[in-house]
Symmetry: C2
Subunit: 457 residues, 2 copies
């Protein structure tokens, strides 16, 4: 025997309901037996009253609580019809109340998830971190099997899955033609879609007639541009509502903003680096380098930095200071900078001034003041015999020590109009020979360790 219907039990045992039933029973002198649909007795009131005797046989009144289904019965004599009406009436309102409570709880849950989501999405710096938070929340709220974040590649026009979530999501990346149909449509129209039975989708059915399941798909939109979509897949069909779709759209709007902001920053960052790089390279061209010196010094420096465990903002500093290490040469006159023969002492002093000129130029750019040490001190020597200040060993800025090795190695190994460059092996020997005098031994070691990676580039 199952447990008695808790809803019916709750109604009957309400303090005021119980009082009404007792009063009715007493006043009408009737026995009232209430059972649920499973014949469990919920109440049995007024055992002394009339109850189904021969002259007045037992009547059974169903309790419907306003719905179609019978949730229980009132059994007794004919007088019980009134009792049944009362219970029915109370049960109907209570049933409405129960529905409202459950809806309210679900809305509270939705609001709380919003609160959490809105507060947390903005502390994410990283796309994957943000995408994981979003997908976890969506999946919890909308009971999804797979969630894909899809972007349209601006160059190829193809849809690319940039993030996937869920145990089965792997099978959707890369997107197969049939899986791309709905996101394609959403991106094209800019309108979100619910498909609760994939087999009814005309376009999809043409390609894959037996596909089942339900999907929600919302565009990633910034202002009037649609750049991609969030695609939510439920393998076994489920009845998604427009409320569900609206919820997904809130998430998609936040994801779109996150992606867009990242793109804007990245684009500006790239513009900045590539402008600075091009100008630096143009300046180096005056110095008889045949091109790509800046690129190689940067690559070597970053490889050394990576080997030494430098990361994040420090690596950015290393990148910029290696690109701009010779910026001061812009102020050295051709007659000195381009002199083919041996320099006089005075001329050498002028050449040496490019380190201080670099500092002077960069001092004008407050946001780049942090790269000055790398630029200013890249001609210092480990033994203290370098310039401009003759600093030794540990007093020299790490970035400068790295750039010194990278710069010297590239200067040795590249061809100039007036001489051929050394082989890598010969240049390595030279670096090792100068390790501990010109160069910091730790940097030389790091360079040699990192070099196999460099050669592969």
């Amino acid at each position: 025997m199952k447990n008695p219907n808790p809803f019916l039990k709750k109604i009957i045992s309400r303090k005021n309901t119980a009082k009404i039933l007792n009063d009715m029973s007493a006043r009408l002198n009737i026995r009232i037996l209430i059972t649920d649909a499973g014949d469990n007795i919920i109440a049995d009131i007024g055992r002394d009253g009339e109850f189904g005797n021969s002259s007045n046989s037992m009547v059974i009144y169903p309790i419907n609580a306003g719905g179609d289904e019978q949730i229980g019965f009132v059994k007794g004599n004919e007088g019980c019809s009134l009792v049944a009406s009362i219970i029915d009436c109370v049960a109907e309102i209570e049933s409405d109340k129960r529905d409202l409570t459950s809806e309210l709880l679900s809305k509270y849950r939705e609001i709380n998830l919003f609160y959490d989501f809105a507060e947390n999405i903005n502390i994410r710096k990283d796309f994957n971190d943000m995408a994981m938070l979003t997908s976890t929340q969506i999946s919890e709220l909308l009971n999804a099997d797979s969630i894909l974040i899809i972007l349209k590649n601006e160059n190829t026009g193809l849809l690319e899955v940039v993030f996937k979530f869920g145990a089965d999501a792997a099978k959707y990346a890369p997107l197969k033609p049939e899986d791309a149909i709905i996101p394609e449509r959403v991106i094209l129209s800019g309108r979100a879609e619910i498909v609760n039975d994939l087999s009814t989708d005309v376009e999809l059915a043409r390609i894959l007639p037996r596909r089942t399941g339900s999907v929600l798909c919302a565009p990633l939109r910034i202002q009037n541009r649609v750049t991609g979509a969030i695609y939510l897949i439920k393998e076994n069909p489920i009845a998604y509502t427009s409320e569900n779709l609206k919820l997904l759209m809130v998430f998609s709007s936040q994801v779109a903003a996150f992606i867009e902001n990242g793109k804007l920053l990245q684009n500006l960052q790239e513009t900045f680096i590539s402008t600075v790089y091009t100008l630096a390279e143009t300046i180096e061209m005056r110095d008889n380098y045949t091109g790509d010196h800046t690129r190689r010094v940067m690559d070597y420096s970053l490889a050394i930095g990576g080997n030494l465990g430098i990361s994040g903002e420090e690596l950015e500093t290393l990148k910029l200071s290696s690109i701009l290490h010779d910026i001061g040469k812009i102020g050295i006159s051709d007659s000195v900078l381009l002199k083919p023969g041996k320099l006089t002492d005075e001329e050498f002093e002028i050449i040496k001034s490019h380190t201080l000129l670099g500092e002077k130029i960069l001092k004008n750019i407050k946001q780049l003041n942090h790269i000055i040490p790398g630029v200013k001190y890249h001609h210092e020597r480990y033994d203290g015999k370098g310039y401009p200040e003759g600093l030794g060993g540990g007093d020299i800025d790490l970035m400068a020590k790295i750039i010194a090795v990278a710069d010297t190695f590239d200067a040795m190994t590249t061809d100039r109009p007036y001489r051929k460059g050394l082989s890598y092996d010969a240049a390595f020997s030279e670096l090792k020979k100068c390790s501990g005098t010109q160069f910091d031994p730790a940097i030389v070691d790091a360079f040699i360790e990192a070099f196999p990676d460099i050669k592969e580039k």
Copy 2:
């Protein structure tokens, strides 16, 4: 006489309630008179039944609907107690249901505002636009008189009102010491605050003992940094709840992210412009300018552009191309660029190549390809006698025509080591003389119109 209580009326006229009352009246042979608290008759059932005759005087039963207040009365004989119990029971559940419905409606409203807010905040590019949307929503949801967005100035440490909303908000900007107390505390602790009676705030009471009203204040936080606060003021005290504060925190989190993203972009943009500017200015320094040539050419160009109604992205293009107009000079050798006397034809050809060298350099920076025309053609003449291509009139890029006027004017008016610059008036005459031959007349006119603004700088 007032209208009958609609809630009581609704309960009594429910189909099943009405049926119960009729059945009761018939079965118990009683008259049932139901009135609301204002003595309006809601129902009068069974006029044939007993009712307050001498042997069985009328009894009055209050209807409380589970609350303390009496919402109506059942009047009749003693048998009516049961009727009153039933109505009371139904009214109590209906009253719960009414409360739930109203709470649910308010949650739906909150969710819908979230939806709208989350979808709309991200399409705002402009801080004021975003702040207005946010404040309108907050004000509607939380019934605020004033809303302030406050940022802590990174240099001075002072709190600054960067946006205000509401009819009375003007009196809070700039912030007076007493108005800064709560935001200061919130920014310092990073914890949001509710103060429902300002006169109870110990710190505030010390400064301003008679201040009344209620406030909510939420920090603007990104990761672990608090950069400011949203401050909501209600002049007449109101009972704000922790739910209200939570809601404000969702908005504050979105506003903080918006501000932070803007700052990141702006900072990078400033780094970019100031780096490019410094490098360009360094290159100009070789050309015997004594400094600030780049700044002045940029200022003049932007003034002309502004006068011509150029704005937005085009103005950005003008700014960058005016800064970088002579970038190609980096490739011209000192012997030609710095020659004090008259140039040979061959040397002049070399000088002219700086326009094409500029194009060549900028071609390497795909994000700056849009500024090439301004750089390449800034030595074309309106009459077609310029270089590098001898383009005429309308064929010349607008940016280039603007830079030509700005550059020539600055070249004429600044001192060089070997000659003194012209006065502004003499240079104006020169510009006018060359209007229609060397320069586009429309640009010369725009420059002369804009010049009063320039002189004020």
